[in-house]
Subunit: 134 residues, 4 copies
Amino acid sequence: MYSTMIEPRVSETDALGHINNTVIPVWLEASRHPIFKLFMPELSFQNWKLVVVHTTTNYTKEIFFGHEVEIKTSVKKIGKTSFQLNEEVWQNGSRCVDSIVTYVNFDLKNKRKEPIPPNIRIELEKHQLEIGSP
Amino acid sequence: MYSTMIEPRVSETDALGHINNTVIPVWLEASRHPIFKLFMPELSFQNWKLVVVHTTTNYTKEIFFGHEVEIKTSVKKIGKTSFQLNEEVWQNGSRCVDSIVTYVNFDLKNKRKEPIPPNIRIELEKHQLEIGSP
Amino acid sequence: MYSTMIEPRVSETDALGHINNTVIPVWLEASRHPIFKLFMPELSFQNWKLVVVHTTTNYTKEIFFGHEVEIKTSVKKIGKTSFQLNEEVWQNGSRCVDSIVTYVNFDLKNKRKEPIPPNIRIELEKHQLEIGSP
Amino acid sequence: MYSTMIEPRVSETDALGHINNTVIPVWLEASRHPIFKLFMPELSFQNWKLVVVHTTTNYTKEIFFGHEVEIKTSVKKIGKTSFQLNEEVWQNGSRCVDSIVTYVNFDLKNKRKEPIPPNIRIELEKHQLEIGSP
């Protein structure tokens, strides 16, 4: 599991007094840097490989300004050219949001899917959800 | 069906040259104003009723700066206290993103679900996806 | 003068119940599309020319969700390689924000300033603030 | 001086390959939390006191994704009801942006300015720019 701490910003709240729901995808993307580094060690956009193709997200608890948030990221599934991440947003001991994102290893220049290289696959497997884990 | 035109902003692009995926939820929320007005005719946050509880989204085509985007919003399902919207993002004649969002009619002050009032239900039904529509 | 209408978004409010101050630069940039088109008629990022070098902004009145906003943009000054825009944000008949931004005509690839071409200068002059105008 | 480290996000880049200029005010606000805590120790929006009335900002160097950013915040001036912060954005040893923001100690409920309390003034003075400092 990867863990990323995020400090909510005033600009991320909305007039209902909590963090606006549209901020969650921003935080989730910000917590995928270790994943991005596996595919693009230099984090260079010239050779960027990863494209989001699907997300499914449950919002179960409000998130507030003034308390740090932890994003817990695990690998859920690894396919031939794609993989899924399980992402959770925690605040004050409660899971507030859980989400699954599907990425494709995509060559943006040549517009085609590419197999996930074996060495990256091994790294991803290290962060895979264990069977029987909650 | 509701239709909302949106002009992509430079600040909504990312270094990959297209609209960043985290912008989509912002646009979708921006295109729900007619729905918000059904529940809160004054658009007042004091008596705000609607909370997002679930989203599921497919990203099928890149979206670019410089060309207007149309958001097409239909009602997919109406439950006792919740409803689902079907939302699509179109650009240059292509459907680029499709998404389903589930809202609960939620009294934020008293923290409890409330039945969707009959007059709002009638309005929502007018925008419901027709059976057999693509 | 250029005029751009903007519909404030829920995600642009903050927990103080108004539009967050960090949203203003986003709106101002969004209202510069006619200026961008003068320099880059195709709005292509490949040959983008304009870089912000300075802004100065007064926030005099709160802006709220639920009421459209008008951005009024005039040319304040045209130099050899740079120009200034005067930008105002109006809501409900009141000027809420006024701002001056300085852009340089900058070749991002070769990292050098370029003179403003005469035909663009003529276009900019058409939108220049008149002497004696408020 | 206050120092805040910020990790740039993919969603904060734009199609020109760098951090979009509209992100700077977001980062600057995010780095004012220690100032906000002086005025609102609970960081509660119910009794929020501070309102931005003026900003002036120089953009001197591009900022990129993939390298941490440091925001250096000092107190520039303390008036009766207002104060100014000097804010700088540094990346890879270069100052990329410098900005001055003016805040008013403003009672949002009663819509009136309030004197800065003596104990807060003492705290602000501790972070004041030294005479002769660059």
